[in-house]
Symmetry: C2
Subunit: 298 residues, 2 copies
């Protein structure tokens, strides 16, 4: 029995990475630079949180792990697509990601554009094709859940709204910040939880509960990230600390201050714990994730 969600994710990680390795084109296959760059971006040492969320939910509701792994890998491809494109010079212009040069720095910009495109496409394609044992209806629902989370009312829309807010301070910054992060971070986390449920045939009230929890986790991730960005330093974070502040970005600390942001974190934590209490016993493990997310900046 794992004692915490972080341990669960850590223990699952080799299986997720084996699945990613199986589903990504081989590095020697043409066009080799593109395939190498896809692998460079995917195997960059992420914690594989989204796959772990999907697998934990799916298993708790009764789906076998091998049915869940392709979708878990697909989530990570889609997540990586968004990181690679967001890091581009025309967007967030980041040189480092997880302590290593970003794809456009290690390769070049054209390759980074195509790597992102290819990972989004491959992630969705994988959801359509696998697991072959699942009915067409299930695979279609899985792929559709993720495509919806990616779209202009999800991640892509959140990224665009973030860039717009940067160029032009919004009239209602609180609302803008909330809308950006519900889409940018929350949408795919929500899709991860719902995806795990979908493979186990979960719908109705439980599906809604998972969606609500995903929103709260997304918010906690984002507030925590913003706090870390102010308080951390480049060495521990593996990216340029204080960058958001320099670019005068809309962040929780910039709008609510450090103490205000911490108070929000505590409030959302309470809501998340309440939602977890409504889920089956095996998902108790989420309480440890909620605790972890509320303490990342300490």
């Amino acid at each position: 029995m794992t004692a915490s969600f972080v341990e669960f994710a850590r223990a699952l990680r080799p299986e997720v990475e084996a699945e990613l390795d199986r589903r990504l084109p081989a590095r020697e296959e043409a066009p080799a630079v593109l395939h190498r760059a896809m692998r460079y971006s995917v195997f960059a040492g992420g914690k594989r949180v989204r796959p772990a969320l999907a697998v934990l939910v799916g298993e708790t509701f009764g789906a076998a792990r091998e049915l869940l792994l392709p979708g878990a890998a697909a989530l990570e491809m889609v997540h990586t697509f968004s990181l690679v494109h967001d890091d581009l010079p025309a967007l967030d212009d980041d040189d480092l990601r997880r302590g290593r040069p970003t794809v456009h720095r290690e390769f070049d910009e054209a390759t980074a554009v195509l790597v992102g495109d290819a990972l989004l496409n491959l992630g969705l394609h994988l959801l359509m094709e696998q697991p072959a044992a699942a009915p067409a209806q299930t695979r279609l629902r899985a792929a559709s859940l993720v495509a919806e989370a990616v779209g202009t009312f999800g991640m892509i829309g959140g990224q665009m709204a973030d860039l717009e807010a940067e160029a032009d301070w919004p009239a209602s910054p609180q609302d803008a910040l909330e809308a950006i992060h519900r889409r940018k971070t929350g949408a795919l986390l929500t899709a991860a939880l719902r995806l795990g449920g979908a493979y186990a045939g979960v719908d109705g009230a439980s599906d809604e509960l998972l969606a609500d929890l995903g929103g709260r986790l997304g918010l906690m991730f984002q507030i925590g990230d913003d706090l870390l960005d102010v308080e951390g330093d480049s060495a521990t974070l593996g990216k340029t600390a204080g960058k958001d502040e320099n670019a005068r970005k809309l962040t929780y600390p910039s709008l609510y201050g450090l103490d205000g942001s911490r108070r929000m974190l505590v409030e959302v934590k309470g809501e998340a714990l309440e939602l977890v209490a409504g889920l089956p016993r095996g998902l108790d493990l989420f309480t440890t994730l909620v605790e972890y997310l509320s303490n990342r900046d300490r």
Copy 2:
């Protein structure tokens, strides 16, 4: 009865554009700039060849037009995604497309990256969700056909190989050129024909015939484009003529000369006509497309 494929496509165009209008988010919906830019790129006056290919095949094999239109619109979204990303400064660096500023010139680079992402995602999502009357199995096959055509062994891979060949003249330029265009142009045309067939339940030998024909049409398109690029001028083409030559790109005229390229066009035309002869009577209309593609530079 329409007399030619070009007339068929022209007559169908308003229906395809109405379907695109119905499926694209409204221009006033947030994030509005992104939605406006998606519409700017999609409604740029294309001939809607891929939708026409899909609808003609689907109808000939017995599917109703209203079942075919969502997939036809999705093809055009996916095609536009590839144009928008290929035009980016880091890739082909084009300022004009169909006589108008490209998306990154009219808006900005970040918007163009996100517009491409959003159109790819929305196109695939539309194939999953519509037509709602089609069985899940059919929608899954449709979406999967297109995702396969987009991937690193299709359009994205072809674009990458094209960029690689530009940076570093390939050891076997003839093979490289053929491989690039089979993927870059041929893959989505092939998917368009097969998609139309898929909605009508076509598989087996007819599906293979359609795939072979798609390959030949792609080749004819590409040789014709290359010839037009050498012979045309900016005014009639709506893009910067002679650009490929300036960048010392791998093209049919640069490898085989003008006469050699024209001879190849005639040869592929013969193969295409033979394939059309093996298809049902209603697809005779493809002979007019083949004739048209063999004469574009006159």
